[in-house]
């Protein structure tokens, strides 16, 4: 006798024709969300650790100020002198009135410099600051 194997009539393949579309959608998502680093950080720094940290919700308001191990100050793309902080920040405040200055300061810097920067920020009316810190575990 000849037995005919019974097979389900359905195909056993996963339809892959729409896979490129799905992948392209993912791709687009990542392309849109990626912000390639706009500024080169020229100073070396290690952020301090803290527990009571908050997130800054509005990223567009942030303006960064770096202070490295060697006490050099960087704003935007260039190393600046302490005296230049005030006019630069004043200019930034004119563009963005409620700017938040994120201070990325190396943990070993002494407070004298930090105080001087703070005084400059106060004179420039950039009063909202955020001492950048990483979460202490």
């Amino acid at each position: 006798m000849h037995f005919q194997k019974r097979r389900a009539g359905t195909k056993q393949e996963i339809p892959t024709s729409s896979m490129p579309d799905i992948v392209f959608m993912l791709l687009l998502f990542f392309m849109v969300t990626t912000t390639l680093r706009e500024v080169d950080v020229l100073v070396q720094f290690k952020l301090p650790e803290a527990q009571a940290i908050e997130k800054i919700e509005n990223k567009r308001l942030i303006s960064y100020l770096w202070v490295g191990k060697d006490k050099r100050i960087q704003i935007n793309d260039s190393i600046v002198k302490l005296e230049e902080v005030e006019p630069i920040m004043y200019g930034k405040r004119q563009v963005l009135p409620n700017v938040i200055v994120s201070l990325r300061i190396d943990q070993g810097v002494d407070m004298g410099l930090v105080m001087d920067i703070q005084q400059a920020l106060r004179k420039a009316y950039c009063l909202r600051v955020n001492y950048s810190a990483t979460l202490k575990i």
Binding site: P48, M111, R122, L127, V129
Partner: protein, 176 residues
């Protein structure tokens, strides 16, 4: 007899499109930095030139003066403590003044030496902020049975009125 040339069907091979797309996708996956900016927020006091400064007397009961020297020793109201004790010293004072009006709330004044290491300053500021946050949490647990971050916006505002974060940075002294 003219043989009709068989036209080859024009088609772009699309089978490798997925691979190419995956490659691109991988690149962007790797290159994406979803970094959140975290840190300790603070609002600096407005700058007033020295000749225009007006001294306002603050009730000494309200004021908690935290002084950090260059060795990292902390002085709170004349007592030498370690940095990690700051939180536990400030919190009871905050909790004691929950029901009082705004002009009776605790002001924490933080002052450092010019030679203090930045890390110490952040540690001290962290402790002070923790004291405020934990006080808020405790009060909101008592009032609403929830933590501060789980409250609604109005309740949070109410809590912010009960325990406002007032941190004052002492005016730096002139260099001797």
């Amino acid at each position: 007899m003219i043989k009709k040339k068989k036209l080859q069907e024009a088609s772009i091979p699309t089978s490798s499109m997925a691979d190419i797309a995956f490659l691109l996708l991988l690149f962007f996956l790797v290159a994406t930095v979803i970094d959140v900016d975290t840190g300790l927020g603070l609002t600096l006091p407005e700058y007033v030139p020295p000749e225009e400064r007006v001294e306002i007397k603050v009730d000494p009961e309200r004021l908690v003066a935290v002084l950090v020297n260059e060795q990292g020793d902390v002085l709170i109201d004349g007592e030498i403590v370690s940095i990690f004790q700051i939180k536990n010293l400030i919190k009871p004072k905050l909790l004691a003044r929950v029901e009082m009006p705004l002009n009776k709330k605790i002001i924490v004044s933080l002052k450092t030496d010019r030679k203090t290491i930045y890390n110490q300053y952040i540690a001290a500021l962290d402790q002070i902020k923790l004291a405020f946050f934990e006080a808020r949490d405790e009060v909101s647990l008592g009032r609403f049975g929830k933590r501060f971050k789980d409250l609604t916006t109005e309740q949070q505002d109410q809590m912010k009125d009960a325990v406002p974060i007032i941190i004052s940075l002492a005016e730096p002294e002139q260099i001797k």
